[in-house]
Amino acid sequence: MSVKVEVIEGGVPHNKIMIAGLVSTLVCIYLTYLNAFTNTEMFSFFGGLAVVSALIWGSHTIKVLCSYGIGTGVPSAGMIAFGSGTIAMLLATKYGMMAPIVALVLAAIIGYILGYVSNNILNMKIPAMVQALTEMAVVGALTVMGFAAMISGGFTFTGLTTSTASFLGLPITSYANSFLGGGLIAVAFLLGAIAIQHPFNACLGPGWKQDRMLMLTAECGFLSMIVAAVMSFALISAGSALISLIIAIIGWAYTYSQYFELSKRDAAAWLDSKPIPDTEGH
């Protein structure tokens, strides 16, 4: 049942990508905590950068898992990653400053049990399954948390469920106008779930190259970040949201042009054929 269909050597080893992705994601999420220290919302964009680095790690994990013929399609891997990750992330937000660490541990436990269930109870018997589902649950949890930090400026339960609005000069607490109460988490969920599964789905095959797939992941991540930055105008100050938006657009433009270059490099033959010229007199 479990035959590894693609054997591609070379490139950065998976463990290196995993450690780099984990560390940079956690550091970026914690950098959004500068918001609380400096009493601004300027550092929210670090949440978006956390999303990009988590997605790069996650898409390589999907590559490791889906190289075995699991027979269900690559998108299903992204869906289970975010399904299990979001559950862990929502509980973790209750732990204040410890939230990212709790999300990491909790998602790893959920992912590990789901991996055991699919490998042993459902008889998948894929060597990479347990580790891959563990990693993907963590990626899902940290990605949604990164989106939360970017859109609302914080990652605590109170910050995600309330916002203070001013009504006739009096501050009132609004629950509907928040990341969770406003349902923005559903958009963040799918932005991440699509961005994590698309790169391997698009790049798989005999011509798979690691750097090209990871560049596409970064491009998808920044594209999601643009949407999240637009949504963040609703919850954080316009200046801070503008910083996120500009960083996202610059990152997307750079990674998109790089991906285009890599695609041209890997194409069998690249011929820039012009449209058929209109000749006179026909």
Partner: protein, 264 residues
Amino acid sequence: MNPTAMAVGVVLLIIILGACWYVSPTLGLTALIGIIIGGVLIGFGTHFVPVGGAPAAMGQAPGIATGVAMLAAGAGLAGLFGGAWAAEQGMVVAVVTGGIGGGLMMAITCMMVNFVYVYGMGIPAASGKVLHDPITGDSQAEYKSQGTEGHGLPFVSFVGGVIGGILGGAGGTLIYLELLGLYEATFPKMMGATAAQVMPVAVAIAGMFAVALFLVNAVLTAYNITGTIEGPHDPKFKRWPRAIVASAVASALCGFVAILIVAM
């Protein structure tokens, strides 16, 4: 089937139920049992849905031409949204509405798929797994092209799809209702606000958990089916017992985490 792993799964299920009884003996445990029933309904229902995958898109296997997770999510979420509209009219009405929503979604999908197969691709519906359709008794072998596993969407697959949609939609709605009831009862005290104020948060978190649980169950069932299934008459359908255990464990685990939000 792996008996040791099944036993481990059942023990895990009992441990989680015990832990839930410990942190929240009445409200939490009732909700968790509802969530497990909902998850099992989703896992079982997904086996009925005729999934064809890429071969079906080329007319070489019967079923709807996409993956298990996508189809289950489509049917189940349509049901969940339908059921959520009826949430205020009581448990029975809402769950039935959710089931009808999911079934309707699958019925429309199956019908349009057959239109595309018959009038677009020019292929008749024929099952490759059975000689006669178990419901209508129509002979299948004469219509099956050589070198394929059948094609199109035979009547039994259509019925299977609708049943799968009904079970999935009802299960998703049940999870949503259980969590919504729990959060509506506990959030006002936890967040220090009135019931009306926390309503958007309760709806959003319950909805998000329901969607997440749905996707986890649908993908686990997809792993059980490994690829394509024709419907209830397919030999792969007999694998459902292990999916029931897997769905129960996964739903219990995720549901327990959802209950911990208000219990801790």
